[in-house]
């Protein structure tokens, strides 16, 4: 356990260092977003003054040490783009991203497990082949394309859903009305995200179940007269779920990174879009903060998965 924790700490340090270095290795400067687009009108001496203000004129190692020092103090720095502390920027976006990617992960896991188990059970049937083709097709669909098709169909043609945003800006809803409004905005992005991510869980579930259904204890359960559904969802599913749990934990770690493409297509105010814009705008502190959040959450869920494994699969020892 101790070595495990030590290795996590090492990984974290490496990740933090890369977080710092990678943005700075990209060509371009954060200047345009430090001062807005009007930087073209700024005299060079003010440019130098600005760089100094943000410590960007210091040598790289000095900036790095300062970054580590601030990090230890829990200070993620100041976002150039938002002109606010990075932490508060992240905290503003986090709920929306968790709502979007969390809901989608839940749906895609449940859907993938149920359909995957059924397909394995009916292995080789028309249902299995049909489901397999459908999910492979979904997997190959670019999410921005699917998103735009859904917008064109359900938002524009039928007018059932809004086209953009996470809530109606010109309405001041409260209570259930507000919840309903948020759900309506959530629907299309969640459907897009679910459809384009469900195949992973489905494929893992299906192949695991095909293996499990051949096991002796399944035959035993059948022969002792348990109903088919009980065999499937009680006896077989529990063991078939093991690899799915792995996939789920990996996905869970990436929930906070949001879904850049889907968030952009639907103008959803999540972390993925924020991160993408931070990269475009060379907002170093914001990039560092967002990547750190993602790194920590991936490491955390990995750690959690390690611990949970000993529970769900007693064969595993830490």
């Amino acid at each position: 356990m101790k070595t495990k924790l030590a290795s996590y700490a090492l990984v974290l340090l490496i990740a933090v260092t890369l977080n710092f270095l990678l943005p700075r290795l990209m060509p371009g400067t954060p200047l345009r977003f430090l001062v807005g687009e009007d930087v073209a009108l700024l005299p060079p001496e003010s440019v130098r003054e600005l760089l100094a203000q943000h410590g960007l004129d210091r040598p790289l190692w000095e900036q790095y040490l300062r970054y580590l020092r601030d990090l230890v103090r829990g200070d993620l720095g100041y976002s150039y783009r938002e002109n606010k502390p990075v932490l508060s920027v992240l905290v503003e976006r986090l709920p929306w991203t968790l709502l979007l990617t969390g809901t989608a992960l839940m749906f895609s896991t449940v859907l993938g497990v149920l359909v995957g188990a059924l397909a394995a059970w009916r292995h080789g049937s028309a249902f299995d082949v049909g489901a397999l083709s459908l999910f492979v097709l979904l997997d190959s669909m670019p999410s921005f394309w699917l998103g735009m098709i859904l917008i064109a169909l359900f938002a524009v043609k039928l007018g059932w859903f809004p086209i953009f945003g996470a809530q109606t800006p010109w309405a001041s809803f409260t209570g259930w009305q507000y919840v309903w409004d948020v759900l309506k905005h959530l629907a299309l992005p969640v459907i897009t995200l679910t459809m384009t991510t469900v195949s992973g869980t489905f494929l893992v579930m299906r192949s695991a179940m095909i293996g499990v259904l051949d096991e002796d204890y399944v035959r035993t359960a059948r022969s002792k007269g348990a109903s088919e559904l009980r065999v499937l969802y009680y006896h077989a599913l529990r063991n078939g779920l093991l690899p799915v749990a792995t996939v789920f934990m990996i996905n869970l770690g990436f929930v906070v990174s949001g879904a850049t493409v889907v968030e952009t297509v639907f103008s959803y105010p999540g972390l993925g879009r924020l991160l993408y814009e931070a990269v475009l705008q060379r907002d170093y502190p914001l990039m560092q903060g967002a990547f750190l959040l993602i790194t920590v959450s991936v490491l955390f869920t990995n750690c959690l998965a390690d611990l949970l494994y000993t529970r769900i699969d007693p064969r595993v020892r830490l």
Binding site: G36, P44, V47, N83, G159, G165, S267
Partner: protein, 524 residues
């Protein structure tokens, strides 16, 4: 009885009139965050500054022709030597919190911009002293005459002294109080801004009660939302390909007009062969500017002027003869005479030392108009034996190569690039910035152009006593630039907007800048 019914008719007619004159809500999509929308925190030049000026006012305002008129000031007088500007402020103007607006606010704001560097507002106020003999009078003393100082007066927002003097750090201070036609009532980060009409506005209550500005990042989503009626207008301009589709719809109105944003071909004036104006003239001579406008902009644009200044700008010299025109044969002969021959017969000319005339033409990715422009130019120079390799890189990388750290004094690292300057460069006709050989003055001279004779004229126009004198000098400057062609102004794309006129149709087109500005909402 009849009298009464006539009266009722007239009254209801009046009611109807006032009802139609006032629009309850306009949803205007913007593409990105403008942070707290204060003078120090707004993000983009367009639409950011224009949205800022819905909340704040300046002493002057540019009318629809781009000419500055008094606004918060009632009168503006300039001394004969052009260095003393005396302004009488409008009476009964109040801040959104009810406090009266006075000369002290003007002095405080201008001194704030002088003290705390602002990319846009600080530079033009350098060396200006502000005196306030009484609460309604402001006397501005300039260290040298500035013929464009009225544009500065129209550009610089005034903030309330009683609030901003409490600001610890103006760069992050968040407070929405201005004198403008709208109050900022709500910001939901990365989602929307909400502005409510200021009923007490000195120029009358604005014609739209509530302005909601949703942030829609994606261009396609923006125009889909417009077509579906989920927004009523967008600050994003329409691309020419979409115009026909939008014009065909009865519920959408397309508004277009001249734009002051430029599309340029930059030559690195320090690198051979582009250090030779004769080579630049040959290249200029084989590009068909009208074809660029026709095929790339589908006609929604104006052919460039060889001296940068837009024909719709008041500073344009209408006596220029345009770009040189050369046939392929004439261009080949000209290059031949300059010593660039194709000695190995591969279709590409070489320098006298044998290096081929092959150069990288940089352009930013994600901008199809510029990529197509670069490709058409590469095609145009190929027949005369010059190769331009078009390379599309992300816009920050291109900027870093062309204009390292936005500081011309740091040099440049490219052969050729497709580039553009935003509208303020044209509005001010900032020729000194564009062409001066001293990198401290020629802050936009990214091509490294140097012409000592021109430098003197550039200095003179910057300190001309009045507009007439400056116009005369600018005419001369444009003639020289049109000869030297340090870069090529290829075209000026038109600004095209799409709106839903049934919701609101009070939009006014400001020459070169578009429909997103104060005068689209305030009674003119």
């Amino acid at each position: 009885m009849r009298k009464l019914s006539v009266l009722v008719l007239v009254l209801s007619g009046l009611l109807l009139c006032t009802a139609t004159a006032q629009t309850p809500l306009v949803r205007l999509a913007i593409p990105t965050t403008e942070r707290a929308l204060t003078p120090y925190t707004y993000n983009t030049g367009f639409p950011g500054w224009y949205l800022l000026m819905l909340i704040y006012d300046a002493l002057m305002i540019t009318d629809l022709d781009g000419v500055p008129r008094p606004w918060l000031a009632e009168t503006v007088q300039v001394s004969a030597d052009g260095t003393t500007w005396t302004l009488t402020l409008r009476q009964n103007v109040r801040w959104h919190d009810g406090q009266p607006f006075t000369a002290a606010d003007v002095k405080f704001s201008y001194e704030l911009y002088q003290k705390v560097t602002h990319p846009r507002f600080s530079g033009p106020l350098r060396g200006v002293t502000i005196e306030t003999p009484d609460a309604r009078t402001v006397v501005l003393k300039l260290s040298a005459p500035s013929p464009t100082f009225d544009l500065t007066l129209a550009d610089t927002p005034i903030v309330p002294k009683h609030i901003w003097e409490r600001a610890q750090d103006p760069k992050t201070f968040e407070n929405p109080i201005g004198t403008g036609p709208y109050r900022l009532t709500q910001i939901v980060p990365d989602q929307f801004y909400r502005l409510e009409a200021n009923a007490e506005y000195f120029a009358g209550k604005p014609r739209v009660d509530t302005l909601v500005l949703p942030i829609i990042r994606d261009a396609t989503a923006t125009f889909t939302a417009l077509q579906a009626g989920q927004i009523d207008a967008a600050t994003r301009t329409l691309t020419p390909e979409l115009v026909a589709q939008f014009q065909a719809r009865p519920d959408i109105k397309v508004i277009s007009g001249p734009g002051f944003v430029t599309t340029l071909l930059l030559f690195n004036n320090e690198r051979p062969p582009f250090n030779d104006p004769r080579v630049r003239r040959v290249i200029a001579g084989v590009i068909s500017y009208a074809e660029l406008v026709r095929t790339i902009l589908l006609g929604f644009g104006k052919v460039g002027s060889p001296a940068f200044i837009h024909p719709d700008s008041p500073w344009y010299n209408s006596n220029l003869s345009g770009f040189p025109r050369l046939t392929v044969d004439q261009a080949r002969q000209a290059l031949e005479a300059l010593g660039f021959k194709d000695s190995n017969g591969d279709g590409v000319r070489e320098f006298p030392d044998g290096k081929p005339l092959q150069f990288v033409l940089l352009t930013r990715s994600g901008d199809p108009v510029r990529i197509r422009t670069a490709e058409l130019i590469a095609q145009a120079v190929k027949p005369i034996g010059i190769v331009f390799d078009v390379r599309a890189l992300d816009s920050d990388t291109v900027a870093q190569l062309v204009w390292p750290d936005f500081d011309v004094c740091k040099g440049r690292n490219y052969d050729l690039a497709i580039w553009g300057w935003s509208a303020p460069v044209m509005t001010k006709a900032d020729v000194r910035g564009l062409f001066h050989s001293d990198c401290k003055l020629g802050t936009l001279n990214v091509v490294g152009y140097a012409n000592k004779a021109l430098d003197a004229l550039l200095d003179k126009q910057a300190q001309a006593v009045n507009r007439e004198e400056r116009k005369r000098l600018l005419d001369e400057i444009q003639k020289i630039v049109a000869e030297d062609l340090p870069f090529l102004t290829l075209f000026y794309p038109d600004l095209i907007f799409a709106v839903r006129p049934a919701v609101y149709d009070g939009w006014a087109f400001l020459k070169g800048e578009g429909i997103i500005h104060k005068l689209s909402f305030v009674k003119r």
